[in-house]
């Protein structure tokens, strides 16, 4: 297993190299001049633009710029933002925890809703419960994030006043630390309260997908001989369902969650914008509109790394869930 993981990690190198070439070239081929956006409509004069382009090295051919970029990236330096002159690595580092927290919370919400719902749907096949689950899943998939998010804010923040509308004054980890060190739960409560609506919004579509997936996987597994054998042996129903059926039905679910983790990371852009969530998505959007090349490159590379690692984690988890799967 160790060798397998090492080999997979090694394979990341050419993959990331390819991704970096593509993103580096594409963002530069998109029309729109970062210099003009940087110095502003009112102030830019042609010679000023030419001069600045030289200062920033943007006048050189793209391959030359790429090689310089590559040389720096190898040493872990992602460059400086054109807009704010700050290190890209710091911009990302400051925002990544918020996005990961939101993404993991969304997955947690999705699993907490979907697995029970999927299992019940499968067991009570073709009953009212099953139909209701199907309708709810359809809604979950169909509702766009931006709409659902705004509706949730109107209902729970504005009308009912139960939850805050936006922002992230505390991190969940920071709240936990405060609770452990000082015994004060208020920071954790604040963090959790701010996390609920964005996590539900981001997780809703995934919850729907997993509900359907769990249901069909359960149906398939329940029909298998070993389940019938287990029942015939007189094992209690819940034990059969949880230990024998669900465990096997979870394999496709793990795959989807792993793949969706990367997708959620990217999909967080909209949710972060609606809920003023201080994550990577807002940085990405702004940098694209400012043609802030170094930041866009940095964010894309970072998301690529996380996605590849998530895929690797899925493969490893397979072996944990299903002992028949072994990697060489």
């Amino acid at each position: 297993m160790g060798r397998y993981i090492a080999r997979r990690l090694l394979a990341m190198v050419p993959l990331l190299f390819g991704i970096s070439v593509v993103i580096f070239t594409i963002i530069r081929l998109v029309p729109g001049d970062p210099i003009v956006i940087m110095i502003g409509v009112e102030q830019a004069t042609p010679d000023e633009i030419v001069r600045l382009r030289q200062v920033l090295g943007l006048d050189q051919p793209i391959p030359v710029q790429y090689l310089k970029f590559l040389r720096r990236v190898v040493t872990g330096d992602l460059g400086l933002s054109l807009a704010s002159d700050e290190p890209v690595s710091r911009l990302i580092r400051e925002r990544l925890p918020a996005t990961i927290e939101l993404t993991l919370a969304a997955i947690a919400v999705a699993l907490a809703i979907a697995i029970p719902a999927g299992v019940v749907s499968a067991i009570r096949k073709y009953t009212v419960v099953d139909t209701a689950g199907t309708v709810a899943a359809l809604l979950g998939i169909s509702m766009p994030n931006f709409w659902l998010g705004v509706m949730l804010i109107f209902l729970f923040a504005l009308r009912l006043g139960w939850l805050p509308a936006s922002g992230r004054p505390e991190s969940l980890v920071g709240g936990l630390v405060t609770l452990v060190t000082t015994g004060d739960p208020s920071a954790l409560a604040t963090a959790a309260a701010h996390l609920v609506l964005p996590a539900v919004t981001l997780g809703s579509a995934l919850a729907a997908v997993i509900t359907r997936l769990t249901r069909s996987a359960m149906l398939e597994v329940i029909g298998q001989d070993y389940i019938r054998t287990a029942r015939a042996k007189g094992l209690p129903g819940p034990r059969v369902v949880l230990r024998h059926a669900l465990r096997n039905a979870l394999i496709p679910v793990v795959t989807v969650v792993g793949l969706e983790f990367g997708a959620l990371l990217g999909g967080a852009v909209i949710t972060e914008t609606i809920f003023a969530w201080p994550g990577i998505g807002r940085l990405a959007i702004r940098s694209i509109f400012q043609r802030d090349f170094p930041v866009v490159q940095g964010v894309v590379l970072m998301i690529a790394v996380v996605r590849i690692c998530a895929n690797l984690a899925v493969d490893v988890l397979y072996a944990v869930i299903d002992p028949r799967i072994r990697y060489q």
Binding site: P31, P169, G237
Partner: protein, 510 residues
């Protein structure tokens, strides 16, 4: 199998634990501002965006500041004199002022701050506004002399909006970190910046203009308009900028919030590339200007967020001429003009707009308005950076854009219309020697009444030549909770919470 509902209940309980009751009320003495976007940098030499300016202008100050009418008033300079040739400005600095780190404010800081912006190596976006400055000299510890290349009256306004004074010692010491924790002389001191979430400032008790009424100010960044408003109505923030248009009418009669509007120093326009056919013919440009029913455009799309423009000078400008009328809506005359230009049969108009909901709703109206002239409008939608690039390279026939600047008529008119700015921001390639002459003179004359006459004449000639169709001036809207007292939007369109000139925003929360 009957135990399954229990699992649901358990899940529900976990979720309920995560969701405590209403958010805690804000403490007294804290003012929370909801902004549309996060600032880029707190280094005044490097920033160009409104959001950065809005925050650092509470921490840092210039020699001069604009009051709510846009008139330059003393700030870090207590007074100034102009030499007879109009090129030398001598500023007497305020004495006994301390930066927030305790160091004394002196003439050296002024020289350092302005020289730094002028140094090309700084790559400062503010350089353009100050480029008329030839030298900054320290006369003594509390006197600074600024020499301009030619007599240049707008320098006062430009100093107010583009030359914020940073402490030489702290700025050199902090280097790039200054952009994250600025040190100034302003009414508020820097506390913290949580990226994408909030910036916190606290009152400067030693401010020469008096201690601010609020102990703390928190700027929060909430990009989505409807959510920003929901936060305000739910009590999460006290003041927001940028109110969504569909809510304006409702908020005007709201018992919970007050609405504030200001017509910014801007104009929204359709530009003609006057170097390509048929837009090189003034009759074609005038015809299109007369065929566009601006009122309808504003009524349908922009509603209460805009006021009709007659020319480039907005009603809030001191040079505004309330009797001046631009091209009134007159489709009959428009058809005549096109016939005179030999284009009664019409032509295809390539029209470039940037991505925005309003602009996409405007376009069909324009298509309808120009159809009677047999003009077929072909709309191309691009994102804003692309539009900007094509505008600067003059790679367009007609396009839709806006011009926003400080309250100086010089800033509103010089670079878009002076011949010397062709290749830069005179993107219509407009030339009129008489307009050049007026704009050159307007910069050099200190007599205010004379300046008013000059800019009014320049506006009349420009509108006559119609290098652009001046559509409307956009308003900037703010909403405050009723508890907020003393807020008034600044003419430049930004949030000002405390000045020595009567502005001191506070909340009446117990």
């Amino acid at each position: 199998m009957n135990r399954w509902p229990a699992l649901f209940v358990a899940t529900g309980m976990v979720l309920a634990l995560l969701a405590p009751a209403t958010p805690a009320p804000a403490p007294a003495g804290l003012l929370r501002v909801g902004m549309e976007a996060q600032p880029t940098t707190m280094d005044p030499g490097l920033s160009t965006d409104l959001y950065s300016h809005q925050v650092y202008s509470h921490v840092l100050e210039g020699l001069v500041m604009l009051d709510t009418q846009g008139v330059p008033r003393p700030a870090l300079a207590v007074s100034w004199t102009t030499s007879p040739d109009g090129r030398t400005w001598t500023f007497a600095l305020r004495q006994g002022v301390k930066f927030h780190d305790g160091s004394e404010f002196t003439a050296d800081d002024v020289k350092y701050a302005i020289d730094r912006i002028l140094d090309p190596a700084t790559r400062s976006p503010q350089r353009g506004a100050l480029s008329q400055i030839a030298a900054v000299d320290v006369v003594d510890r509390h006197t600074v002399r600024i020499t301009t290349r030619a007599p240049f009256v707008p320098i006062l306004t430009n100093l107010a909006t583009s030359a914020y004074i940073v402490p030489k010692a702290a700025h050199t010491r902090l280097g790039r970190d200054f952009a994250r924790r600025p040190v100034g002389t302003g009414p508020f001191k820097w506390v913290e910046w949580v990226p994408e979430e909030r910036i916190v400032l606290e009152a400067n008790p030693d401010y020469y203009g008096g201690r601010p009424a609020m102990d703390r100010v928190q700027f929060r960044f909430i990009p989505e308009g409807s959510v920003r408003l929901a936060e305000l109505e739910a009590g999460g923030v006290d003041l927001i900028a940028g109110v969504p248009a569909p809510d304006l009418r409702r908020l005007r009669v709201s018992l919970l919030v007050d609405l504030h509007e200001v017509i910014g120093t801007n104009y929204r326009l359709i530009a003609f590339n006057t170097s390509v056919k048929p837009y090189d013919d003034v009759r074609v440009r005038q015809a299109i200007a007369m065929a566009i029913d601006k009122k309808k455009l504003v009524d349908v799309v922009w509603q209460e967020r805009a006021v009709l423009a007659e020319g480039p000078l907005p009603p809030t400008s001191w040079a505004y001429d309330e009797r001046f009328r631009g091209h009134p809506y007159n489709p009959t005359r428009a058809r005549q003009l096109l016939a005179e230009a030999g284009l009664a049969g019409g032509f295809e108009m390539n029209y470039l707009i940037s991505e925005s909901e309003e602009l996409r709703r405007e376009a069909p109206l324009l298509i309808d308005m120009l159809r009677p002239l047999n003009i077929t409008v072909k709309v191309t939608v691009v994102d804003f950076p692309t539009l900007l690039q094509r505008l600067l390279r003059a790679e367009y026939d007609t396009l839709r854009v806006g011009w926003t600047t400080n309250p100086e008529p010089d800033s509103l008119l010089y670079s878009p219309f002076h011949t010397s700015a062709i290749g830069g921001f005179n993107f219509t390639k407009y030339r009129n020697p008489r307009v050049d002459e007026l704009l050159d003179r307007g910069r050099t004359i200190t007599n205010q009444a004379e300046r008013v006459r000059i800019y009014r004449e320049a506006q009349r000639l420009i509108v006559q030549d119609a290098p652009m169709v001046f559509l409307f001036h956009e308003k900037r809207t703010y909403a405050t909770r009723k508890a907020v007292v003393g807020f008034k939007p600044h003419v430049s369109g930004w949030i000002v919470l405390k000045t020595p000139y009567g502005i001191d925003v506070k909340t009446a929360r117990p």
